[in-house]
Symmetry: C2
Subunit: 371 residues, 2 copies
């Protein structure tokens, strides 16, 4: 095994595949990056067995400055190889198998001999895509991730809720995330009719989002148990959650008794100001709404209380008092892109439904708290 490559290109590729590598790897080889050297390319793989990332660098791409002298495979600890390449003293870095699993990595005058792990000890990961690939815009994907993943559960007791459910039916893709106390529902119009119903772990979505960088679009392929994201000679492959996702559509009331229209920023800032007033670690916001104002208050025996009145743009319904988690309200309001938000209510013990004015594509729902 022997090759040389552009230091900066390799550093960036290592950074990409390292996103899948966990510091608490289930088997020692998974704390490393697998290098597979072929005649015309090198493949780098990082994996934590749930998420796997493959990055291919070709000799034909001139900027890679990739020269293969001898093919072969090795696994190098991600921490060490990242440190070495990041600080290398030359624009080209050379790799050479010197003895057993020892790899010599050299630049200008700097030279390292690093103890690698045999590639045979690495997990067998199948990156072949056999199913249909569908294009998606990166900006749409990143919006879905930003507007839904925060609402997922972090509790392993309900595995399905740790992911975002993607359900395509005809030309509509519906993305749902919930932890049983709040729900984010995002609808996207697809270019063509598709039909699937999968749940992707929030962690996988956040990993993909963090490495899409400046791509404009990517391809997505789904098989029975896995989803693949394909872009830029990179494949990110993640396990799907195989628990059945609950039917959350019935949580959204068909009609409302109260509708509030209000400036999003003013409400967000008021809720944010109360956030430190916590009882038993939780900030509860109480809203009293009439036709002119919304009164936002919060109190805690230990700390004290807050109180603030904001003018509303409009309010339909009788005076209403309703309480909810200040954090959930803040998180939900942050995902809305419109300057004006609509809060809809069916009663003080019924869910609060939030969407941007003139934008039905994103709905945030929050369970109330008995005040």
């Amino acid at each position: 095994m022997e090759f040389q490559i552009s230091t900066s290109i390799l550093a960036s590729a290592l950074n990409t595949v390292s996103k899948a590598i966990s510091s608490t790897a289930p088997i020692p080889a998974l704390s490393g990056v697998k290098f597979d050297i072929y005649d015309d390319r090198i493949e780098l793989t990082g994996s934590d067995s749930d998420i796997s990332i493959l990055k291919t660098l070709y000799t034909k791409d001139e900027e890679n400055k990739l020269e293969i002298i001898e093919t072969g495979s090795i696994v190098l600890d991600a921490r060490y190889i990242n440190e070495i390449v990041k600080r290398m003293d030359s624009n080209i870095v050379k790799f050479e198998l010197v003895d057993g699993t020892f790899i010599k990595i050299s630049g200008n005058s700097a030279e390292f001999k690093i103890n690698g792990i045999r590639a045979n000890d690495y997990l067998t990961i199948d990156f072949d895509i056999t199913t249909e690939k569908n294009k998606m815009s990166v900006s749409t994907f990143e919006k879905i991730v930003r507007q839904t993943t925060f609402a997922c559960s972090d509790k392993e007791t309900k595995p399905a809720l740790m992911g975002v459910n993607f359900k395509a039916s005809g030309n509509v893709l519906t993305c749902n995330a919930t932890n049983s106390f709040r729900l984010a529902t995002k609808k996207i119009i697809l270019d063509k009719a598709l039909n699937f119903d999968i749940t992707i772990p929030a962690r996988t979505l956040l990993s993909v989002s963090s490495i899409l960088s400046d791509n404009l679009e990517f391809e997505m392929a789904i098989d029975m148990t896995k989803v693949s994201f394909i872009f830029d000679d990179t494949i990110v492959r993640g396990r799907l959650i195989d628990d059945i996702y609950p039917d959350v559509s019935r949580l959204i009331p068909p009609a409302y008794s109260y509708t509030l229209e209000i400036n999003r920023r003013e409400l967000l800032d008021a809720v944010d100001r109360t956030s430190f007033i916590k009882s038993e670690g939780k900030n509860v916001v109480k809203m009293t709404i009439d036709s002119d104002h919304i009164d936002i208050s919060s109190s805690s025996q230990e700390i004290g209380s807050s109180h603030e009145t904001i003018d509303v743009i409009s309010f339909k319904g009788d005076t209403l008092t309703i309480s909810c988690s200040g954090k959930y309200l803040y998180d939900a309001l942050r995902t809305i892109d419109s300057d004006i938000v609509i809060l809809s209510f069916s009663g003080e013990l019924k869910p609060i439904v939030i969407n941007g004015k003139d934008d039905e594509s994103l709905i945030q729902l929050i369970s109330p708290i008995r005040s």
Copy 2:
């Protein structure tokens, strides 16, 4: 108690005094900021009983927009008061004692009632300066802090070594910091003859350095047990360490058998590149020096080895092999401001002494490790 003040000025003052407040306060009142309202000023105090900071804001300073309606004192939890003032919805914030220890804090429409602590429950801190004040330039002080504090011990078993010893004798101020395995010695020429020998905790020096901001100079006053730093209507007062500081001057050899002159950046980068090669958590750098080159290497059974050769500018003495902590060498080289450094040696088991070329004001000394 009732007053109003510029929100941004108060936020900045709270930020300053909060530097002394510990999240693990020894008595509940110390988790708060003490507000003392007088006819012509307000005083804010933060303290963890070791370090205390007093900031005074006067009505006469127009930018404070300070208006005193009623005098009084109260302690308000630093976490809550910082949160409130940082997010306040107006340029002026009003404070009013409403009931017992409840303070109403209000802006435009936002209003808080916070449960305070009686000022009587706060520590009695004497900020009076009765001894001579001496001027010091902020840039000189920050240089001392940057070049010495890192070398202090973090072990409470040797209290004296947790501080920097400041010893003024005639026109020379010598600042020493050591953890027994390395030593930083900085010498400053004073404008006038002074005579003192005090040890200031590294933590106090770092706190002061973090709030000096854009001042050009400050005053320093020393009494038997305390040091005060005075600037910008602010007093930082810290306890001195009363253990006797060891005589470290004898650690620096009077003459050397080997002298190396080398580019600082090249050596620093080479040492940095080896830093991940650790045995039992420690990175040891081995240097072999002859008249033309320095050979820097490091190895670990588990990880592998590194090897690098750099041209030297000059080397006086026979070929020498010496090992030391890579971290200590890196830390020491980082504090040197010259482009060229001089490393002086007396033998492979004698201390390594480092200074900038043509700069004897700062000496870094490192104990070698038997290789």
